[in-house]
């Protein structure tokens, strides 16, 4: 389909037309950092940004989400109400390629097996992703090492390239194509614009300095479960949740009931959880299969770089680098991967006692 041009001053016009039908989520500045929020007017949008602190995953899989609500007669439940807001249409504006790819991983996970997580899947169904290429990736980015690249557009519906005063617009999916046809006032992109887009793509890719070789990381992880290297990797880990709560592919959640007991109603909600917390696998009997930071750090790395490839054939990491920036003790994931890759000695020699 022919690439189009959207002038930056036309974004307001685009937004007003979209916001009747869609809840528009876009990057705004919140307490010093970028966050994706539902916006009411276009001035709130922050156009010059690298990426958000909390990934856009929180739009479709929020940190606190209602599973169902219920009414009681004081003691017993009399009625359970399913969620009614799942059919609302969302438009996610300004999503980076790595985060867009994270939606594919999340969808793969929530749809896997004979139980599908309807809540996430319906919301993803009703969302349109308008992504933007990364003109200036950071040194902590390593999307090229996990089958991604700064201008990857196949996980988006509409792909924009920031050409300075205008956007190069390209429809990727049918949803995207059908949406673009509605805006007849978009002008056609010139050859020069398209060429400039490709140059930016090439330039962005060269900016990525981190190169991780993940070819046999999965096997290495599998055969080195009780290698002493894990003690060294998790030595200074504090066991907080920063890395998982800022990770676009972490999906673990806890389920809690909340009651408004004086009004005889309540709701069952789910909140983000992380394998780094002590309660995560604590049995009621007191036994905890993953008792210290050694097992927990290992589980996080294994889950994304060994279990995901085995179960779903995809690497469970999009290379956004948020966990590298957020870690209080700077436990760099790239260093962990390098340490795993160059484990020479077989597993038997240095076993965790």
């Amino acid at each position: 389909m022919q690439e189009m041009i959207l002038m930056k001053d036309q974004v307001a016009k685009l937004f007003t037309e979209l916001s009747e039908e869609y809840n528009v989520f876009a990057p705004i500045k919140d307490n010093g950092y970028i966050a994706y929020r539902k916006i009411t007017n276009v001035e709130e949008i922050e156009f010059d940004y690298f990426n958000s602190k909390i990934p856009p995953k929180e739009i479709l899989f929020p940190q606190m989400e209602v599973l169902f609500e219920y009414k009681t007669d004081g003691k017993n439940v009399i009625e359970i109400e399913d969620r009614k807001d799942l059919d609302e249409k969302n438009l996610l504006f300004g999503i980076r390629p790595c985060d867009a790819h994270s939606f594919v991983l999340l969808e793969q996970f929530f749809a896997f097996g004979n139980y599908q997580d309807e809540i996430f899947l319906k919301k993803k169904e009703n969302s349109i992703i308008v992504g933007i290429g990364c003109n200036s990736p950071k040194s902590t980015c390593f999307c090229t090492s996990v089958n991604g690249y700064p201008f990857q557009k196949d996980d988006m519906d509409i792909f924009l390239v920031d050409l300075g005063d205008k956007y190069l617009v390209e429809a990727v999916s049918d949803k995207g194509r059908e949406l673009i046809q509605r805006f007849a006032w978009l002008s056609k992109a010139s050859k020069a614009d398209v060429k400039k887009g490709q140059e930016l793509a090439k330039k962005a890719e060269d900016l990525i300095t981190t190169k991780l070789d993940l070819t046999n990381t999965s096997e290495c992880l599998e055969s080195n479960f009780s290698n002493k290297i894990w003690e060294e990797i998790s030595e200074n880990c504090l066991g907080c949740g920063s890395c998982s709560f800022l990770c676009p592919t972490c999906t673990c959640f806890d389920v809690i009931d909340e009651n408004a007991q004086y009004e005889n109603r309540g709701r069952r909600i789910r909140i983000w959880d992380t394998c780094q917390f002590c309660l995560y696998t604590l049995h009621t009997s007191g036994h905890n299969p993953r008792n210290s930071s050694i097992e927990r750090c290992r589980n996080r790395v294994l889950h994304k770089f060994s279990y995901y490839p085995i179960n779903y054939g995809l690497i469970g990491c999009v290379g956004c680098g948020r966990c590298i920036q957020a870690c209080p003790v700077n436990n760099d994931l790239r260093e962990i991967i390098k340490k795993i890759n160059n484990i020479k000695t077989k597993e038997e020699e240095n076993i965790i006692a």
Binding site: V66, E258, R267
Partner: protein
Amino acid sequence: MTVQTEQDIKVNEKWEPKIIAFLCNWCSYAGADLAGVSRIQYPPSIRIVRVPCSGRINPFFIVKALLEGWDGVLVSGCHPGDCHYLTGNLVARRRFGILKDLLEFFGIEPDRVSFMWASAAEGERFASLIKKTTKLVKKLGPNKKFEKNW
């Protein structure tokens, strides 16, 4: 929370605040009992929770009460030196001193949470302090800060 205008306070003149009162079993609870027995009138705004000693009060109780929507919290124990457990109220006094300052620093109106000593013989004093607390909390209006509106 909207700023409480003069007009609002007048409107809810008949609004009776709900105050949870942790009374120490040996002095304050007996004081309350004495106030009742000698027919001393005081506003029906408090709900009494009897505790062995004011030292038993954990700051969680007070924060949890405010979170659950109580309009005021009152903790009453024996006068220093009269404590049945000798040092319960002395330990509590330090804890409450810090708690009161911290609550105020975090934006909870100071008059919402009050501490007092009342011995078993001071029925009068108990009733007047209840009147005073109720007046203070009534002036502040209902506790709307922690409503989880869903």
